[in-house]
C-alpha cells in the first residue's frame, strides 16, 4: 500500500515539499551561523571600522529577517501538507463515507422501525375506536 505508484505530479509535489522543508531549515541554520560569525567580528577588510559596523548591523538584520521568513515558510509548509493530506487521504475519506452510510442506514432502520410501531399503534387504536364508535348509542 505504502509504495503504490503515485502519479508523476503528486510525486513532484511531495518532492517539492521535502525540498522546501530542507531549504527552509538550511536557510535558518545558515543565517544563524552567519549572524554568529558576524558577532565574532574579526575579519580584515579594507573598509573603515565605522562602515564595517554599519554593514554588519544591516547584514544581521537581513539575516534575522531571513530566519523569520524561513519560519513562516515552514508554517506555510505545515499548512500545505495538512491540506494535501486532507484532500488526498482517500482511506480516511472512504472510512468517513462508510461511517456516514452506516449512520444513515441505522437512521433509516430506526425510522422504519418507528414508522412500523406507529402504524401498529395507530391500527390498534383505530380498531379500539371503531369498536367503541360502532357500539356506541350514537350510531
Amino acid at each position: 500500500m505504502a509504495n503504490r505508484a503515485l502519479p508523476q505530479s503528486k510525486e513532484a509535489l511531495l518532492k517539492s515539499y521535502r525540498t522546501r522543508l530542507k531549504d527552509d531549515v538550511k536557510s535558518m541554520l545558515e543565517n544563524f551561523e552567519e549572524i554568529i560569525k558576524l558577532a565574532k567580528g574579526d575579519h580584515d577588510t579594507q573598509l573603515s571600522r565605522l562602515t564595517q559596523c554599519e554593514q554588519d548591523t544591516y547584514e544581521m538584520h537581513v539575516r534575522a529577517a531571513n530566519i523569520v521568513r524561513a519560519g513562516e515558510s515552514l508554517m506555510k509548509l505545515v499548512s500545505d501538507i495538512k491540506q494535501y493530506l486532507i484532500l488526498n487521504d482517500f482511506p480516511s475519506v472512504n472510512e468517513a463515507i462508510t461511517q456516514n452510510s452506516k449512520l444513515f442506514r441505522t437512521k433509516q432502520a430506526e425510522c422504519d422501525q418507528k414508522l412500523m410501531t406507529l402504524r401498529d399503534d395507530v391500527a390498534a387504536e383505530l380498531y379500539d375506536l371503531e369498536e367503541e364508535y360502532y357500539t356506541s348509542p350514537n350510531k
Partner: protein
Amino acid sequence: MAFNSINISVEAPIENQIQEITYDGMEIYQPPLTLSESLVKYAQKIDFSKTTDLDLKREDTTDDSKSDIDPKDAFQSSLWPWDSVRNKLRNAHQEVCVLADVLAIAKDKRYMVLDPVPQEPLETKPMVQIYARKKALAGAANVLLTGAEKLKTSQNEAVRNRTTPDFHIELLRLRQNWRLKKVSNTIIGDLSYRTAGSKYLQTGTFEVTKAEEDEKTNSPPSSPLPGGIVPAKPSSALKVSIPSELQGVAYIEVLCQKDFEDLCSANINFLGSGAPSSNPDMHWQQKLEAAQNVLFCKELFNQLAKEAVQLQNPIPHMVVGNQIMASVLPSIQLIIALRHSTSGDKKIEKPSHSRSEHDHVLEHSLHQLLREVHHKNTHHPFPHPATGPLGPSKKRMMAGPMAADRYELLEMTKQETLLEQIVRQTQHFLMRMRTEYVLDTLAKEFKDPLITSHWSTHSSATRSCVKITILTHGYDAVHSTPLLVYIAEKGLKCICRDGRVMNLSYEPQELRDLIFYTINQHRIQIVIGLAKVMGWQILENSNHLGIGAVEPLGNAASCLLASPTGDRIIAVRCEPQANAIHVSVAHSPRTDFFPGRLVTERKWEHLGGQFRDVRMDKMEGKNFLYKMELLMASLTSNS
C-alpha cells in the same frame, strides 16, 4: 591660463627660425639642426625623476616655454649628448644597489627588522565597536523576536478561539462530506450528483477559501430558521463560494388544478417546509445543502421539461417558462413549477390555496423518481463488463435464449419517463382522494346500514386497496356485505360480494352508484338472513325487479317472506336511487272472515290476500332491520 585642460601639440615649424633681420630687411634664417644636434636636444629632455604622466606633461609645457627662452644654453651644455642620461642612470644604479643591500639585511632579520609605519591611529575604541556589534545583535534579535511573537500569537489565537475551529479541521469535516480537489492554489469542491449517477450537464462546483477573521468577529446572531437547524456557531474558519446560479432557495411546486382551483399542492424542498434564508452567515454545510438542493431541483425540472416536450400525448403537455402543465384527468391539470429565489430576503410567498398542508406523497415520489434514475445509471444489472462500454441489459440478454418475439423486444425498449410516472401517480392520488371523499360522505349520509372502510396499509404509489363493509348495527352476525375496491390510476376495480368484478372509471358518481346498489342488496340480503333466523320462509328474492316504477339507475330489489305458518306474507321492495323501502304485509287467511257475494267460502282466503303498506317511519325501532324484526315477531306471535 588653462593649459591644464587643453592639449597643445607643438611641432617644429617648417620654416626655420629667423636668426636676425638686417637693416635692409633681409631675414637671415638659422640653419636647421643637424641630426646629431637634434638627438642631443631630445636626449636632454629625458628626465628620469619624473614618473607620472601628469608631471611629464607639465614638464613638457614648461620645458617648451623654457626652451623657447634659452635654446642656446642647451646647445652649449651638450658636450656629450648622453651625459645627463648617463648621470641619471648611474644614480639610479646606486640607489638600486643600496636597496638590494638593505633588503638582504632585512631578510636575515638579524640586524634589521622592517616595521610598518603606523599610520595615523583610528580614533575608534574597542568599546565602541562592541557597542555597535551589540546594537546590531539587538536589532537582529528584535527582528527574530517579533517574528516569533507573530507566530506565537497566531498559534495562541487558534488555541484561544476554540469556538471557531481550525481551518484544517473544518476542511477535514468538509472533505468527509463533500468532494474536494485542489486545482493550483484553490480548493474546488463538487456538489453535483454526478457520482450518484446524474448526467446533468451543469457543474456544481464551489470554491473553498479561508474566511477573513476580522469581519465576522461580531456578526449578528442569525435569526432562528424555521425548521432548519440553527447553527450553533455562525462564524467558521471556512468560507464556501457558490456560483450565483446555485445560490438561493429552490423548490418544485406541484399543483393539481381543476378549472383554476387548486386541489392539492406539494412543495418539494429538501430542507423541510421552512424556506431557509440564504444569508451569507449561514454555515457552509447548510449553504452547500441548499445549493445542492437547487441543483437537484433544476435537474429534476430540466428532465421533466425535456420529457414533456418529447412525449406524444393526445393532450400535449405544455412547458411555459418555469412551468410544466400536464393534463391528468379531464379538466384536471398537473402543474409542476420550478421556483427559485436568488434574493436573500425571504419573500417566497406561500401559494394561498385552501389546501396549504404539505403533500408528502407527491413530494416524495418526484424525489424518488429522479433518485431511481440516478441509481439506474450507476447500478447496472450483473453481469456487466467491469471496464468498457456496457452491454445489453439482463432482460435483453435473456431475450435470445428465451426466443423473444418482436413485440417483447419492442416492449423492452420502452422506458417510462419521469413525467409519465408522476402523472400516473398523480392520477392515482386523485382517484384515491375521490374515493375517500365518496366513502366518507356516504358513511356520513347513511346511518342505517353502516359503511366502514378499511384502507390497506400495503399499497404502492399507483395502487391501493380499500375494503368496504356494509353492515347493520346490531345484526353484524346475520349478514354483512363486503366490497373490495382496487384503486388504480384511471379507474377502480370493484369486487362485489358475489365475486363479480366491476371496472369503474374515474368518475366518482359511478362508485357512489355502486355503493347505493350494494346497500340495496345488503338490505334485502339482511332481511332474508333475518327471516331465516326468525324461521320465516323466503318465497321470492329478486335483485332486479322488473315491475314497479322505473328507477333512474339500476333496478329495485325485492323479496317475499312467508311466516312459519304461512298465513302472513311480507313483501319488501328497495329502490336504490330514492333510497326508499316499501314494506307490505298480507294476511292470507284473514283472521276474521265474512262471506261475501264473491268469496263464499273461507278456503279461498288461502289464495292470498291484499297487501297493505306498512308505514315504517311510524314504527318503533332504531333501524330498518329492527323494525323488520318487530314486524316479523308481531306477525308470528299472532298466529
